[in-house]
Every structure is written in structure tokens, then in C-alpha cells.
């Protein structure tokens, strides 16, 4: 087990970006261990992709060192590097004539002969990668016929087939519906837990990061950087700071962003259980601020199910949440 805790990737005083005048972030000292699921988190356009590509050796750093297992990245031969780290990119520019299975099998290219031919062992690994990502059924489909989610899974299968200790994914959950996102997270988690891969993925999906990350790298606008457990970053206020703006409120107890309703009209909800919870959610959505003891009140009574809204000068009852909402929007 001990070798799972040695860092597979470290950086020392790393500066990334395109030109030294316009560095995206500097002084980065990062470390990833086997079995780590690391989330690179940050608002759009802050340089997450550049950081990932730099760590993958596809983009030159401006300054500093990157090491894989203690060996400087730039001194590793291209074909050796291909057996150490694999990537899944956001932009897919694959030729439309490719079939899903061919894409996955291209992950075995670093192990293939000069002509690109593969042996039975390679074929087995390809099949296994496809069944792990549950895309075996897509094998003969053209890449142009796949949905965004299916394509993403095929490219993740390709990275798995490359069989590298480090897998890097740039926004793997973009364009994908929520259930599929969770499926992908479970898959990545399994790669870290069962196969002791180090997985680094960039996302701006805070929910998923708080749910699944072993460690978060938080890249903020202006090159600020923080790292820690997801919970630590909530408690330290780093998450709040890097995403905060006047209209958005980071709720530190739920780990969610909400509309800033601080200036909303206060309202009190009296009721129980899920009914009360979702009535409150509806009111917040309508711009109210939940505040017990407020002058405006919504009373939920069962038998028959009724929402009664009481304000300073009148009171109305509604048989459905929709009618309550309708009334409140017209006040």
C-alpha cells in the first residue's frame, strides 16, 4: 500500500501561461499521489485547461519544474511519457470516419508495433476499457453518431486503455446531464480506488467537486491558488472568495451557490417536512427571504391541502403551490 502514497506528479515553483508577461498563475507547488481524485476547480476562462495541458507536457511551462515520479517531465521521451499519462480533452476534433472502438484502440498506440498493429493482450485491454465505461454497445458506431455523453465515455475508455498511472481530464462533465455526470464521477472514483490511478480533472461544477474530490486545486481569477480537502476550502472561505460576486451567494452549510436574496422581502413558512422544504425553495426562487417571525406568512395545512398567505392587510388561501406562486408574483 505504501507506494500508493508516493507522489506520481509534483511541480516546483511552476508558472504557467502563454507569455511571461501574461502568466496565468505562478509559484504553483502541486503534488498528486496514486489513488488521488483531484479536482481542478475555478471559474470559466481562468486557465484550467492551460494548467492541465502544461502538466500533461502538451504546453510548455514559463518557469519552474514538473516531475513525474521524480523525473523532470521535459527529459522524458515522448513515447515513454505516453505510457505515464493519458488525457481526455474537451474539444473533440476526431475525424468523423472513426468508429468508437477505433478511438479506444488508439489508446494502445504507445504499445503497438511500428505499423500500429496490436496483439491479443491489447485487444483484451481495449474490450475491458470499453466494458468498464459501459460503451461496448457503441463499438461500431461512428464518432459523429455519438451523443456528447457517449463520446465523452468513449474518450475516457481510450484514456483507460492507454493504461497510465495518471489520467487527466479537461471538463469531462461539460455538456452532460446530471445523472450521466454522476456516472462518470463514479467511474473516475473507481479508477482511483480499485486501480490506484491518479486522476486529475478540471471542472467548474462545484457540486460534483464537493461530492467526490479527494483534493481540490482552486484556481481563482487573477492567478490566486489554494488547495486542500473540499471541506477545508469551504471552511477557510477560499471557495466563497473565488466564486463570489454581488448577485451570487455561497451557502457555506450546503456548499451551494444561491441567488443573493439578502435584499428580498422577508417571509415566514409554517409547515412540516418536504412540503415546507419545497415551499421555501419556491419562495426563495420568487425572490423572498425566509425569515421566521416575519410579517408575511405562508401557512401550510393538510386535509385539505391548503397554502394560506397572510400579509399585514389581507389573507388568501390556495389549493396548490402554483396558485400561491401566481398570486405572489402578481402582488
Amino acid at each position: 500500500m505504501s507506494d500508493h502514497l508516493t507522489p506520481v506528479l509534483t511541480t516546483h515553483d511552476l508558472t504557467i501561461g502563454f507569455t511571461s508577461k501574461h502568466a496565468i498563475a505562478n509559484g504553483l507547488n502541486l503534488s498528486v499521489e496514486s489513488g488521488d481524485l483531484v479536482f481542478l476547480l475555478g471559474p470559466n476562462g481562468v486557465g484550467k485547461t492551460t494548467l492541465l495541458k502544461t502538466l500533461a507536457g502538451l504546453h510548455s511551462p514559463i518557469h519552474g519544474r514538473i516531475e513525474l515520479n521524480g523525473v523532470p517531465l521535459h527529459s522524458i521521451r515522448r513515447d515513454t511519457l505516453a505510457k505515464r499519462r493519458s488525457i481526455v480533452l474537451t474539444q473533440q476534433s476526431a475525424a468523423s470516419s472513426l468508429r468508437a472502438r477505433e478511438i479506444v484502440s488508439l489508446g494502445r498506440l504507445p504499445y503497438a508495433s511500428w505499423s500500429g498493429s496490436m496483439n491479443a493482450g491489447d485487444e483484451e485491454i481495449i474490450e475491458r476499457a470499453m466494458s468498464m465505461t459501459s460503451c461496448s454497445a457503441l463499438a461500431d458506431r461512428l464518432v459523429s453518431e455519438l451523443s456528447d455523453g457517449e463520446r465523452q465515455k468513449v474518450f475516457i475508455a481510450r484514456a483507460i486503455a492507454q493504461d497510465t498511472p495518471i489520467i487527466m481530464l479537461d471538463e469531462p462533465t461539460a455538456f452532460i446531464d446530471l445523472p450521466r455526470r454522476i456516472e462518470i464521477m463514479q467511474l473516475l472514483r473507481r479508477l482511483t480506488r480499485e486501480f490506484h490511478k491518479a486522476v486529475i480533472l478540471s471542472t467548474h461544477d462545484l457540486d460534483l467537486a464537493l461530492m467526490a474530490a479527494d483534493r481540490i486545486w482552486l484556481l481563482g481569477a487573477g492567478g490566486t491558488f489554494a488547495t486542500g480537502l473540499p471541506e477545508e476550502l469551504v471552511l477557510s472561505g477560499d471557495l466563497k472568495r473565488s466564486f463570489h460576486s454581488a448577485d451570487i451567494l455561497f451557502d457555506e452549510s450546503t456548499g451551494r451557490f444561491a441567488w443573493n436574496n439578502e435584499s428580498g422581502e422577508p417571509i415566514d413558512v409554517q409547515g412540516e417536512g418536504l412540503l415546507a422544504h419545497w415551499t421555501k425553495r419556491a419562495l426563495v426562487r420568487l425572490g423572498y427571504r425566509i425569515h421566521s417571525g416575519a410579517l408575511n406568512k405562508v401557512l401550510i395545512s393538510s386535509l385539505p391541502l391548503t397554502w394560506t398567505f397572510t400579509s399585514a392587510n389581507n389573507s388568501h388561501s390556495f389549493p396548490s403551490l402554483a396558485e400561491l406562486a401566481n398570486h405572489l408574483r402578481r402582488r
Binding site: L89, R99, G116
Partner: protein, 333 residues
Amino acid sequence: MLIVLLGIVFILSLGLGSVSIPPSDVAKILVGREASLPMLSTIVWDLRLPRTLTAILAGAALAAAGLQMQTMFRNPLAGPYVLGVDAGASLGVALVTLGWGVGAEGFLSNVGLLAGLGRLGAATLGAGATLCLVLAIAARLRSDVTLLVVGLLIGYFASGLVGVMVYMSVPESIQRYLQWTFGSFTAATWPTIGLLAISVGLGCLIALLLSKSMDALLLGEEYAESVGIAVRRVRWGLVIGSSILAASVTAICGPIGFIGVAVPHLARELLRTSQHRYLLPSTMLIGAIVAVIADIIARGPGDDVTLPLNAITSLFGAPLLVWLVLRRVEVSQ
């Protein structure tokens, strides 16, 4: 199977024409025995064999070059001429054939030197010069798409120059120039076939050595880099290799359209694979077969009268491409 088919069209091509020679006689002549008529031997050895061999080499070369460009640009409509090699060759030939017309005005008096080289030399020089220009520009570019645009623009520029020269020329020399642009496999003599074979062999060897890298390039440049392919070096190989193929064919046969674009699609449909270690040899074989068939059709009237080869390849190639494109659209919906 493709090799058998190539064998069949090869024998057919040697037998068909204004004088029909039965396959049994063709076989006899090829192995050096006497045919029923001595004249037939002359027709095969001096006319039809050079022509057929040229078609085989040219077809294989154009198809291989087309496949390389389609893979490099990940664009199904790319072909051997996307980098402007044909335009360069046309410019060279135009300078020689049309140069006479303007040379008298002193406008292009130094063209006389070029004219001495003949059409073949001029086309080679033109294609080679374009190749060097494209390479010089490619060295400064990181993106394949930019290279594609540059190739197109070089092509337009050369066509513009040719247009000016055509406008200022006399009808006779325009006729000579047009003759070349029609494309033909008849111009080749045994020594030029030898040269063509060497350069086509070299170009195809480069392509075969790059088949694994071409597989990777189908994913895109960054993915290719990530699986250990030296993308920049491979791009040089592809540009040089395909340009050698396209330039040598164009110099000898004129700019021949559609074979280079359509044949790789045929090969993909037939093999249902994108792996270049299978795709490339098949593409070359199909290219050779298609070129020989096109030449058989072109000589319909007889050995001495030949329809423009480009007209044949376009008449058959364009509907084929339309069908392939429509099929792809239907499949993806």
C-alpha cells in the same frame, strides 16, 4: 482480391483500344513470346504498356497523397492538391507554353530558358517551387488548418497568374496549355516512367512508414502528441511525401482530379476501417485500378484519339463523391 482486380484491368488495358488484342496474346507478348502478329507486340510494348504503367503509378500515387491529406487535415474533401502543388505545376507549364506569346513583347523574355526544359521540366519546377514555398510557410505555422488555407491561397494566386497569361496569349499556345490541363497518361516514355516509379516508390514508402502516426492524427494533434507521436515531424513527412507524389504525377500526366479525393473514401467504405496499415495499401491499389479504368474509358475512340482524362475522372468522380457525402449525412442523422 484488389490485386486480382488490378491484374484483370491491367490485361484489359493492354488489350483494349483501336486494335483489340485477345488476353491470350497479351500474356504471350508480356512473357516475350511471339504473338500471332508481330505488330501487336509493338503496340503493347511501345504504346499500351507505358501508358498502363503510368496510369497504375499515377493512380496509386494520387490516391495515397489524397489519403495523407485527408488524414492530416481530418477533412474528407482534402486531396493531393490542397497544398497548391497542381497550381504550381500549371504555372510552370503556362510559363513555357504561353510564354511564347508574351515573350515576343519582351514581357517575359527570360522565359526562353524555361521553355528549353519543356513541359515536363517546367511542371516539375513549378510543383517543386510551390512545395518549397508551402514548406517554408508550414515551418512557421502550428496549426494544420492555417496550412490548409495557405495552400488554397497559393493555388488561387498561381491560377490568377495563369489567368493573366492566358488572357495575353495567342489561341495556339492556349490550346497547347489546355492540352496539358486535360491530363493524360500517354506522354510518358520509358525513362520518365522510371523516374516516376522512383519518386512514387519513395513517396509511398514515406506514407507507409507514417501509417501508425496517421492513425493517431485522426484523433487530432494534441491527442496524437499525447500517445507519443512527434506531430511536427510527422506533419513534415506527410507534406513532403504527399507533395512528391502529387508533383511527380502532375509533372508527367497533368493535374488529374478526383482520383485523389474519391479513392480514399472508396477504400474506407470497402474496408470499414480507419487503420492506415490496411487503408493505405488498399487505397493505392484502388487508385491504380480506377486510373487504369479511367484511361480505358478515355481511349474509347482509339489509341491515337484520347478523351481528356480529367473529364472522365470528373464525370465519374463527382457523382461518386456526392453519393458518399449524402450517405454520410444520412448515416449521421
